[in-house]
Symmetry: C3
Subunit: 261 residues, 3 copies
């Protein structure tokens, strides 16, 4: 299974991705999924999140703008995903910042996510290590967090992805590094959250290969980010050029972004 | 009353449009209303939705990211619109996807919307016919849904609009088709939701002519969509070019988009 | 302390700004803060808003899409800001439009904001004067509201900023006018809300000088707005050019925007 083939499959099947993400990210994440070829749906109410998860190809859960009511919906969606054999992706935004957030992520981790994506500080803190995180931005390098990702993957049996200058993704045994992207990416809000949603799109079409599916999503961001940066004059023009680049992405460029770690 | 005259009126009166729409659409819909010349306000709390609806020119209600708390606000706004003789527009996003959503739309329909706008799958399901809808994207053609729109309009006494490649709008007796737009439009999230809000702007200035008002909004999207697509390199550049085109729209171009059905 | 020095400080320290703002503004406001050099975090739940405010450099509170649940979070954040000696900024969006909104703003005012930013109608109504406000857009000129701003500043001991064609900011004794910007700015939703968040960034790095900090944020918007307008073809292209201009802003251009009032 090549990365190009996976992207083709995503475009052909246009999987329904059930996203429970934060208010900041919703619009951008939906546009990222549409540009890549998936079909996004943002559904969070406890009354329907479980029912909806059963008809989706994958679920993604992001705690960015968490509240107790939304947490109920997240639980319902993750449980329904598990019961119906659908993969789900966890994005533990700034989980170390408050007690409320830490407890929520603990609960969600217990529901066994298929993939966990975070920045270096988030992954280090999730693995129980000291981090320099503050708010939603990372204070640590990806390299420093790689051992944390591996131990977290081994403990949770999830694929763990750290995104940063060079991304790192591991299932606890094999590991890959994904290059590309641009220094403008951390200057555009919700890039990481949108990437989590796109991982949902790829695991929906390749549920048996979450490591490769996750790497595919990271590689898409790497290529589209590099291309957008070539013509962008700043973070404002980067954002829409990124969407254009993602929509026009040539799957054959993906392989070159990925190296064994 | 010509379409050009209606757009002039919208720009001159800048009606206050009370939108209860989903989180994904809010920013884009507000920018669409501002570009067209209306004054948007997003107000959803049950504590104030009724009071606010009374000072607005029209109300629009979209169930995209529904929750039970928001449903209370929607009911309050629709009831206040009815009591104060204001038109209101319903957008039944993916109403067939879950029980929660279906029941909510049933309740809202009972509050007699002035206009209902949806994609083909949504309108077919609302008329009680089988549809191929899945999530928020349509699985059916506009043509297949036209009979459903007519019967739904006759049953509810609302104007019903189906948007798609060529839009169809009917009051159950007369019907119009509106051309234009671009294949990029379904690749940009919240285009339909924003259109629902713009219909609110037009029915606010022409409450006695909801069929023509709705057709005007559809024609604006048709023209601005075609123009934006001419220079767009993908869905990212399409979105902001669409806003620019809407702000610069020449009302005299609207008539050519509309044909009797 | 020059405006250029303050912008340098903002970029160097990248203060964590805790924003409780409306759904429409969240994405744009986060991108504005990132472009200017600050680190935004959108956190609203009553369970964590107080705890988070204590680790932030400043808090900003905007009642645009208010609900009773969010109001609890706003109170918790404002109280925690006060207790931990952090400045906080209030944006009383359309507070005169409904009883719910008026009462909420009364409560928030009692928690002594460091800065209040609004349009002319909002500031006039807040000072107890008659205004022509309707919905979220101003119906009054900045000039007409200047006396209201001064009396409101004297009564509340907050710095009060009115934004419009030429902005006015006062601490009740000294006052400044800030020029620049563009007629396209009221055509882009959430510009004012994003500005409120940026004021939060500046008061975070200069908590002892809220008048100068506020003027700095206004001057940034004045310069970036003028620059963006030079190349924009409408409100759609203005929005992303504004972000690019803000990210590239030369601090030395700020001083020329500000005059004593």
């Amino acid at each position: 299974m090549t990365y190009a083939a996976l992207l083709d499959q995503l475009r052909r099947e246009s999987p329904l991705v059930h996203c429970i993400t934060n208010y900041v990210a919703m619009n951008f994440a939906a546009n990222v999924l549409l540009a890549a070829g998936a079909s996004p749906a943002m559904v969070h109410a406890p009354e329907e999140a479980g029912e909806f998860a059963r008809i989706a190809g994958a679920v993604t859960i992001n705690i960015g703008t968490l509240s107790s009511h939304w947490l109920e919906g997240m639980r319902a969606a993750a449980e329904a995903a598990n019961e119906s054999g659908k993969p789900w992706v966890l994005d533990p935004v700034a989980h170390f910042a408050t007690t409320f957030r830490s407890k929520a992520v603990e609960e969600l981790l217990a529901l066994r996510p298929t993939v966990i994506r975070g920045n270096a500080s988030e992954i280090m803190a999730l693995a129980g290590n000291a981090s320099s995180g503050r708010g939603v931005d990372s204070g640590d390098s990806v390299e420093r967090a790689e051992a944390s990702a591996t131990s977290l993957a081994q403990r949770t049996r999830a694929v763990v992805a750290i995104t940063g200058e060079v991304d790192f993704v591991t299932d606890g045994r094999d590991a890959l590094r994904i290059a590309g992207g641009s220094a403008l990416m951390p200057k555009v809000t919700a890039m990481g959250c949108a990437l989590t949603c796109l991982i949902g799109g790829f695991v929906a079409v390749a549920p048996a290969s979450p490591l490769i599916a996750t790497a595919s999503a990271l590689a898409c961001f790497g290529v589209a980010g590099s291309q957008a940066a070539q013509q962008a004059a700043g973070p404002g023009s980067f954002a829409w050029r990124f969407i254009d680049a993602l929509a026009a992405l040539d799957g054959n460029t993906l392989q070159a972004q990925v190296m064994p770690a």
